[in-house]
Amino acid sequence: MATLKIPVSGQDHIQGNAMAACTLVEYGDYECPNCGAAYPLVKDIQKHFGKRLRFVFRNFPMSRMHPSAQAAAEAAEFAATKGKFWEMHDLLYGNQDRLGVELFTELAKTLKLDPAALQKALDAKTFSERVGTDFSGGVRSGVNGTPTFYVNSERYDGSMDYDSMVAAIETALAS
């Protein structure tokens, strides 16, 4: 059974109750269609569990397959330094079919971030190391495609549907 090798820490993007009994970690790629499909699913799961669940998103861009995935991850990390990671995360998944420089500029404006500063960070690869660290940690933890989920540090190998995932989290909460 593959387990999460990098514990959740202050370096992570965490949503929900910090003291929650269950943690759901996703390794995801902004350009991956399966991650796009999982995006509303995660929202529903968060809504269902409320304070009992915290959610962590880590970058796992499959760059050779998805040419804009790395830049999208870096754009989200740029937004994170301005306290707007989740807003950017939502907008990237909400506009998954239009990923690219033009969209990143538009989203920066929407979030009242400086588009020129974002462009500069992308050109300079300022956040590529941060994204790479997430990626390597994912490889170590047995990420086997995107998205890969961990429920309380155990890789979730079940099917990616609401009922199955809710059941897995319920089991984790009960143990």
Binding site: C32, R64, M65, G145
Partner: protein
């Protein structure tokens, strides 16, 4: 489930097609660690595809000087089209004729399905199997086990 060759066993040599006019043998790679990844078939769904994943992780394998070889019973033209479509940067071997002969030698052939199992081997620079792992057919095993095995080689 199949019974894989275990660690400590010399890896059976083979010579298989990698392109329509080129063969690769295990012997050619002596001196480097080799990762042999048997997988059931080309063209499985994109995002969870094991070969596409390894393609992304290739730089981590290369840090250990290791060569990655994918191997299935698909023919060489099928492999060529698949590798091109997925932009794969490592060789895919065709265990095509006699079908599955190499997989059988490694204990990694799934008779009922007529395909190779999802099985991983890490072979050291002297051609000895150091680690093997059989994954359920439906579960992509990821690469954590491979990396741990490669690290253990240097200890």
């Amino acid at each position: 489930m199949s019974q894989l060759l275990s660690p400590g066993t010399p890896a059976p040599d083979f010579s298989l097609r990698v392109t329509p006019d080129q063969k690769l043998s295990l012997q050619d790679l002596r001196g480097k660690p080799v990762i042999l990844a048997f997988y059931p078939a080309d063209w499985s769904p994109v995002c969870g595809d094991q070969m596409a994943l390894y393609n992304e992780i290739l730089p981590e394998f290369q840090k250990h000087g290791a060569e990655l070889l994918g191997i299935s019973v698909d023919g060489v033209w099928c492999h060529t089209a698949f590798a091109k479509d997925r932009n794969l940067h490592f060789p895919l071997l065709a265990d095509f004729e006699p079908k599955g002969e190499v997989a059988r030698a490694y204990g990694a052939y799934f008779d009922q399905g007529g395909i190779t199992e999802r099985a991983l081997f890490v072979i050291d620079k002297d051609g000895i199997i150091r680690w093997s792992f059989l994954s359920p057919l439906a579960v992509n095993p990821g690469a954590d086990g491979i990396l741990e095995a490669l690290e253990a080689l240097n200890k």
